[in-house]
């Protein structure tokens, strides 16, 4: 499976070549670290998080550390940051409700379909709820996916309260004793309090109507995103009780390094990554493999 991931990530690697060159070049540690900082910033890890990674490298390596030592230390450091909460990915073993949340254009609808396809393949009883009652054709988009995947979709009407759609979906999810319900929500900018309150209501309905279900709230982040990912994660955590990140569009040249800062600052795990437009283009996030794929 990871051979495939590596293949898809091939393009993202070019920027990291520079780092690799440094490892081979026999430069002094500080010079190597400077180059490393640049590469991390170019990967959207951010000034602050990059600084902390470098500090850790300084304390954990000797002044005369060779390229190989630094390479290992860097990979260890990044992997450790991304591993702290690596356990507990939802597997549909008990009734699970997955909320897909995030700003506009991150890929929530496509990612919801990918998750539905995956759990269906695992033999789970899967349902989709189209709780995006705002964006034009969002309902149709998810309905088309449902048809393609053979997964039932609970739809709402445009302008309706998304919490009402979720309420209906939960009732039919319970009646049919489903395993996994994936809820697609409308994109919203995290600074819009009204829309964030609306999301909190959706979450509340899930908890109230299906207290026995596991609630997984995934922030869908586009790999091209910059430092705004961090305030976004903070706000969505506050309103929708985030349990993890779904990183999308990892098949371009963007590296999605912002998730390093999120994992570190907010202690949130990255659950899945999406790498294409097809329903099978979904991978479980593995910190070690991710770091290896980026630096290999």
């Amino acid at each position: 499976m990871f051979a495939n991931l590596r293949d898809k990530l091939a393009r993202t690697r070019t920027a990291f070549r520079k780092v690799e060159d440094l490892f081979q070049s026999g430069k002094r540690r500080e010079e190597i670290l400077d180059g490393l900082e640049e590469a991390l910033i170019l990967a959207d890890v951010g000034v602050a998080a990059s600084g902390r990674v470098l500090e850790a490298l300084r304390t954990k390596t000797r002044k005369d550390a060779g390229e190989a030592d630094l390479e290992r230390a860097l990979k260890d450091e990044l992997a450790a940051m991304l591993s702290r909460r690596a356990d507990g990915r939802p597997d549909g073993s008990g009734p699970t409700v997955i909320l897909m949340v995030g700003v506009n254009g991150g890929g929530k609808t496509t990612s919801a379909a990918k998750l539905a396809a995956r759990f269906k393949r695992d033999g789970k009883r899967v349902m989709l709820a189209a709780a995006d009652t705002f964006r034009a054709a969002a309902q149709e988009q998810l309905a088309l996916w449902g048809k393609k995947l053979g997964v039932p979709v609970v739809k709402g009407s445009y302008g309706a309260d998304p919490a009402a759609v979720v309420f209906d979906a939960i009732q039919s999810f319970k009646a049919q004793q489903g395993d996994v319900l994936v809820v697609d929500t409308a994109g919203r900018i995290h600074t819009n309090t009204n829309l964030m309150n609306e999301l909190e209501k959706v979450k509340r309905i899930v908890v109230r109507e299906h207290p026995g279900a596991r609630l997984e709230s995934l922030l869908v982040l586009d790999a091209t995103i910059g430092q705004n990912a961090i305030p976004q994660a903070r706000e969505f955590l506050k309103f929708s009780g985030l349990t993890g990140i779904f990183l999308t569009k990892v098949d371009g040249t963007a590296k999605g390094g912002a998730v390093v800062a999120i994992a570190e600052e907010l202690d949130l795990p990255i659950r899945f990554i999406g790498v294409g437009e097809g329903e099978d283009d979904l991978f479980e996030f593995s910190p070690r493999e991710f770091v290896e794929a980026l630096l290999s």
Binding site: R11, E38, I41, L42, A43, D44, G46, V47, A48, V103, N104, G105, G106, G107, F134, R135, A136, A137, A138, E140, Q141, A143, L144, W145, K148, G187, I189, H190, T191, N192, T193, D222, T224, I225, G226, Q227, N228, A229, P231, Q232, K249, D251, G252, T253, A254, K255, G257, A258, E277
Partner: protein
């Protein structure tokens, strides 16, 4: 949008203002702070380096050292350079001298192309044009329906493109152009499939559409939240397709928007519009000068005034400004202002236009509930003229009467009075008075 960036730069400027002379040493400090501020704002690393070098060269020149106020001059250099990168003068949307004009929108997935098509159609209709919309996104499920829904809800025609038609693309595109010209539509607004810029197949498809339609404008739709990669994707579209301008989307959040600098720096194409919300009217003409001022913490008062003049009664606005200056502002005026603000759109929007420094610092963050505005208006309506002129007479029994009349709880009336008094106090501050002076 550039809130935090402004804050950082403001700090740097303060630092510089405290210095009597610009020296190599304090300049280096200041430039480092600027570099970090820009990097945190997602301006591309290389763009930042470039910018830094230019500032350094100009700021350390003889001219500055000899001048009386070097800090002032450095501020001017930074501002001018920033405005320079952002495009100097504001550039209008181009139309062909031989209609129909074709405006083609390209960009990555999820950058907001389809939503922007609707906004753009509404904007051109506002200047008397009759747009036709078409989408070449035949891959994403329901992409056609999305644009069709947007077009229909705004009352614009939509041209249905199908895979069957596109099987012979040249004929299909020519047919589209004939249809547009024959029905007298102008411009034709073309939505395209979002795909990663490394997707050669898509680029080939876009190149073909571009070659046959010969668009007047090829607009790159860029997401203001993009990080370092903004440079690479914009550059790829510029090199492989050829762009004429940029529209920046999702500026309604708190993204620092460094992508704006990156995209413009790398493509050399001007930003013409910005998207500031999901609804079709959340679309504004981009002003480079203002944006540069805004980045430097001067705020976007001009945009605010333009918006106010567009939608509110100009005479009333002026009268209000006069009263504010003279501090004759009463609850009656407060209500008028509330009603006007409702006309202008949400209050939260408006507050976003104020400079995010000084007395306004946390104002934009204060969430304004638009429903509350309606309640406030109801409360003021339930007051006697005397009470509106002089809220100090509002004792307990008067407040209870107003509560009954307006159907709002007494504590809300207390809150209104308190807010009004705070506002009066704020209006007396010299900074605000100065700003209002500029409002004349």
């Amino acid at each position: 949008m550039f809130d935090q960036l402004s804050e950082r730069l403001e700090r740097m400027m303060k630092f510089l203002r405290g210095e009597v002379k610009v020296t190599d040493k304090n300049m280096a400090e200041a430039l480092k702070m600027m570099r970090l501020a820009f990097l945190e704002a997602d301006v591309n690393y290389k763009v930042v380096r470039d910018f830094e070098a230019r500032i350094k060269e100009k700021a350390l020149g003889e001219e500055v050292l000899r001048s009386l106020s070097p800090a002032q001059q450095v501020i001017k250099i930074v501002r001018d350079e920033l405005a320079g990168i952002l495009g100097g003068q504001q550039k209008p949307l181009l139309f062909s001298s031989r209609p129909p004009s074709v405006i083609m929108l390209v960009g990555l997935q999820g950058s907001g192309k389809t939503t922007t098509c609707g906004k753009l159609a509404r904007w051109v209709a506002g200047i008397g044009k009759s747009p036709l919309l078409v989408s070449f996104d035949l891959k994403r499920p329901a992409a056609q329906e999305q644009l069709k829904t947007i077009a229909t809800s705004l009352g614009f025609p939509f041209y249905e493109m199908t895979s069957a038609r596109m099987a012979s693309p040249k004929e299909a595109l020519k047919e589209l152009l004939v249809h547009t010209a024959n029905r007298g539509f102008d411009p034709l607004i073309v939505d395209t499939a979002g795909r990663l810029h490394v997707d050669d197949e898509l680029m080939e498809e876009l190149r073909l559409v571009r070659a046959i339609l010969d668009p007047t404008e090829v607009v790159y739709v860029g997401d203001a939240m993009t990080g370092q990669d903004a440079v690479r994707s914009a550059q790829a579209f510029e090199e492989k397709i050829g762009l004429t301008s940029v529209i920046l989307t999702k500026l309604d959040g708190d993204a620092r928007g460094g992508a704006a600098l990156s995209i413009v720096a790398v493509t050399g194409r001007p930003i013409k519009f910005i998207g500031v919300g999901e609804k079709p009217d959340k679309f504004e003409v981009f002003h480079p000068e203002r944006m540069a001022s805004r980045i430097l913490g001067l705020g976007d008062i001009l945009s605010l005034i333009e918006k106010a003049q567009g939608e509110a009664d100009v005479a009333e606005t002026e009268e209000m400004a006069r009263k504010l200056r003279k501090q004759e502002f009463t609850l009656e005026d407060f209500k008028k202002q509330i009603v006007q603000m409702k006309k202008m759109g949400s209050l939260s929007d408006l507050l976003g236009h104020l400079p995010q420094v000084g007395p306004f610092k946390n104002l934009a963050k204060a969430q304004v509930d638009d429903l509350k505005i309606a309640h406030f208006a109801a409360i003021i309506d339930s007051m006697t003229p005397e009470e509106r002129e002089n809220p100090r007479v509002l004792n307990g029994s008067r407040r209870a009467r107003i509560a009954r009349g307006s159907g709002r709880p007494v504590n809300e009336i207390n809150q209104l009075v308190r807010q009004f008094q705070e506002m009066q106090k704020m209006m007396k501050r010299s900074v605000v008075q100065k700003l209002l002076g500029g409002l004349k």
